[in-house]
Amino acid sequence: MKLTLRIWRQHGSSGRLVEYVMDDLSPDMSFLEALDVLNEKLILAGEEPVAFDHDCREGICGMCGVMINGVAHGPQKATTACQLHLRHFKDGDVLTVEPWRADPFPVVRDLVVDRSAFDRIIAAGGYVSVPTGSAPDAHALPVPKPDADTAFEAAACIGCGACVAACPNGSAMLFTAAKATHLGVLPQGQPERYQRARNMVAEHDALGFGGCTNTGECTSVCPKGIPLTTIARLNADLLKAHTTRSDR
């Protein structure tokens, strides 16, 4: 099948869209495999290949991610770019491929961006403080199945950054809320629950991510379907952290 890819090329501080016509693609290829094919051609033609992040190619590591025609990870719901297959496009389609765009995610090169801000949000409180060796028996603390399921659903976040790329405000609230929810609904996460919410959100704001205005773009592009209710939970914890807790 044939596709025309208009790809953002950037080396240094400015970039532009460059058009590539690909006419020997297979519908069974993944989107990233189409980029592989393009790069092989570019290299042999003496041109610079397109830089893009990717690793597991199974939709779980969270390393890949590009805007395809303005949609983070492309048109297929709940699917990362590496798991998006060309059978979801029509022969002859023109696709505009761009990196995530948000101030806290500076472009490194072409489609590669720096998402280390996400690590800093986790470092600010996205954990349970339990040094190795200090754990009680795993069955000492039963967890009601519905709570475990809610925690799991939120914990499925892969930290790809699609939520930020999709948000008109450049907010990372869905990412932050996913972690706050995962740990906040489990009994293990209770002692640090409010402090965690407060510290992660403070770091989120300091890094330059925008505020959440409940547009819901984030959850609609999230490859793992993290629900918007996680943000409601985070806001509730935040409110409590700032009003009732003695450690505020």
């Binding site: 597991c56 795993a138 199945k145 914990a155």
Partner: protein
């Protein structure tokens, strides 16, 4: 012609004698400690941030050591442990189904086809219990029963239900637990994190591992980092086959460079081929995707009785299906170990047709909701890749390279033969023998990182801190100059073939001659072809761009260059081991039924290879079995 020479035998000097049940306790007691105030003066480098490296860096930070952590990905959370699906074993016996530390130990030694060390495996089984406690306390959302307690399931090679899981994302959840613990230490200033940095060489000074040379993958800058000890947790080398279930970036460079600096490489030919992967769809294929072994709990594997049957799977009546695993291995059925299931599939079908993994019975028995609960995300993944709906048609699966049991040789303390160089997780060779059981990789990675390494590394660090180093030291300067020279050479070739084309060709050769089944003629052929191909690589490879920028082709070129050297050693190892065991099947050594035929009289040893630049030198470590009598593995 022989491709190797033999040197003196080696032995593990650190394992205590006496009752196996108390060896780990006694080793921890005999190991020297570093007092908390002095730990601040000891620096440890940890390369890799998967389950082993992430948990080790976090734990060493908690203990008060100064830690420097490195990964090639943009964040420590992306290490490929994240893709492990099925689960993690632990001898909790929560099911009351007869499990125990001894049974997990026994199953693992037997599953490894009697090519692992009893002491290491026993320790692993003991520690398995603490791992689950630790992970639950971190908030890892394991699957739970309605009563709030942890759920378990069965995995290949076991008749008890001891595998803890978090849907099909167990690796992800365990890794995030370790990653969060690591970020906590980073925030506390105890761990210095270097993401997007790739280790390109090991610095050895006066016989001790003292640091690493890394390339900043964004700026291209080459720099050195020094420490009192270096821990490699850089995973396996399955990508030598080009197509595997490994992430695209997984590579052998860190352990191969350490091998070239003197670390012994043990059992490189022990590679695991996983039976349930999605078949290849075309020449563009860039990697293979695993479907968790847990699917074999409820899915039934079959092929049409007539190999030329062209009907669609659902049109083939029950009587014309061959449920070959259930037929050949009635007591373990679809849950035989991976090596056995893979070879059975290969012998009965080929990589284009694959075999069917069918959930029709399970859907009838359990209902679609229960099936979705257990396997929903795996079914979705399958549908995304193939376009077929596994709730309606059986999945098509085929074996693919998945894990490498071989790795750098380590003693009971996980220390290589280079003082100060520790190797943990898949990067070492120690616990799985010739075949790893399902759900044991996560167990080993976390055992090494959370408990074993932190429990004994003090014994070495007690001798430190060692002398301060800088780039002017001759040994350091030489290493840096070699790294720079290599990059310059790769960029200077400017040939007419891409790195990818060489990787693909090497991988095909390895899959054909050193894959699921090996024989002398094929291995000799590969040993002739690999050096030719490697020569061609250095004459014709084309690496665009420069070394002073983000250059993904340059990264890949360096990795493939090392795969060429490793591939040769794998074939030498496979050729010398004239027996079949676990994942290493030599067609000359099989029973009349076509099962693997071990030769304990000649090959009950670990093959540890020394790099010389000429023929590799074999050092044998004899394996002693005092608690599990080596028998022919039978899963019938």
């Amino acid at each position: 012609m022989s491709f190797h020479t033999e040197g003196p035998p080696i032995a593990d000097q650190r394992v205590p004698a006496g009752p196996i049940e108390t060896r780990w306790d006694r080793r921890r007691f005999s190991a020297r400690l570093v007092n908390p105030a002095n730990r601040r003066n000891r620096t440890v480098i940890v390369v890799g941030t998967g389950l082993a490296g992430g948990s080790a860096a976090a734990t060493l930070g908690e203990l008060g050591y100064r830690v420097k952590s490195f990964c090639y990905q943009d964040s420590p959370r992306r290490a490929h442990s994240i893709a492990a699906q099925g689960g993690i074993n632990a001898a909790k016996n929560y099911r009351n189904d007869g499990d125990s530390v001894h049974r997990l130990f026994y199953d693992t030694v037997k599953g490894g086809d009697f090519r692992s060390r009893e002491s290491n495996v026993h320790r692993l089984a003991q520690i398995s219990v603490e791992i689950i406690d630790q992970c639950v306390a971190q908030g890892v959302p394991f699957a739970r029963e309605y009563g709030g307690l942890l759920d378990t399931r069965s995995f290949g090679g076991a008749q008890v239900s001891r595998t803890f899981y978090a849907r099909g994302q167990t690796g992800q959840q365990l890794l995030l637990g370790a990653y969060q613990a690591l970020e906590r230490q980073i925030n506390a200033g105890r761990v210095e994190m270097h993401a997007r940095h790739e280790m390109l060489d090991l610095v050895v000074v006066d016989g001790r591992a003292r640091g690493i040379v890394v390339r900043d993958l964004v700026s291209g800058e080459i720099s050195t980092h020094f420490a009192d000890a270096v821990v490699l947790a850089t995973g396996g080398y399955g990508n030598v086959f080009h197509l595997s279930t490994n992430a695209k970036g997984c590579n052998t460079t860190a352990i191969w460079r350490a091998h070239r600096r003197g670390a012994l490489f043990a059992n490189p030919c022990f590679t695991q081929i996983h039976p349930t992967c999605i078949p290849i769809s075309g020449d563009h294929q860039s990697k293979l995707t695993l479907m968790s072994e847990s699917l074999r709990n409820d899915g039934r594997v079959w092929v049409p009785k007539n190999p030329h049957d062209t009907r669609k799977s659902n049109d083939i009546p029950e009587a014309e299906r061959d449920y070959f695993l259930e037929r050949m291995y009635p007591s373990f059925g679809n849950l035989v170990p991976r090596d056995i299931a893979s070879r059975a599939a290969k012998n009965i079908s080929d990589e284009k047709r694959g075999v069917y993994l069918d959930f029709a019975d399970a859907l009838k028995r359990l209902g679609p909701l229960a099936v979705e609960e257990r396997y929903g995300n795996l079914f979705e993944m399958y549908q995304r890749i193939t376009g077929d709906d596994p709730y309606k048609v059986p999945m098509r699966i085929y074996p693919a390279v998945h894990y490498t049991m071989g790795g750098l040789w380590v003693d009971y303390d996980l220390r290589s033969n280079i003082p100060g160089l520790y190797v943990i997780g898949e990067a070492n060779f120690s616990d799985h023998g010739a075949n790893r059981l399902g759900a044991s990789a996560l167990m080993q990675g976390l055992a090494d990182g959370y408990f074993v390494l932190p429990g004994v590394i003090g014994d070495y660090l007690a001798d430190g801190p060692f002398e301060d180093l800088d780039d002017a030291h001759p040994a350091v300067a030489d290493t840096v100059s070699e790294v720079r020279g290599r990059i310059k050479t790769l960029l200077a070739v400017d040939g007419d073939r891409t790195v990818e084309s060489f990787h693909r060709e090497l991988g095909r050769l390895m899959w054909d001659e050193c894959g699921m089944e090996r024989n002398e003629a094929g291995l000799r052929k590969a040993l002739e072809r690999i050096p030719e191909l490697r020569e061609e690589f250095w004459q014709r490879v084309k690496v665009p761009g420069s070394g002073a920028e983000l250059n993904q082709q340059l990264e890949k070129a360096g990795r493939v260059a090392d795969f060429f050297e490793l591939a040769e050693l794998m074939c030498v190892d496979a050729l010398h081991r004239e027996e079949s065991c676990g994942g290493h099947f030599r067609s000359e050594s099989q029973t009349p039924d076509g099962e693997a035929l071990r030769d304990d009289a000649r090959f009950s040893y670990v093959a540890a290879w020394e790099f010389t630049g000429e023929k590799p030198v074999l050092h044998k470590e004899e394996l002693v079995f005092e608690h599990v009598q080596p028998t022919t593995r039978s899963y019938a």
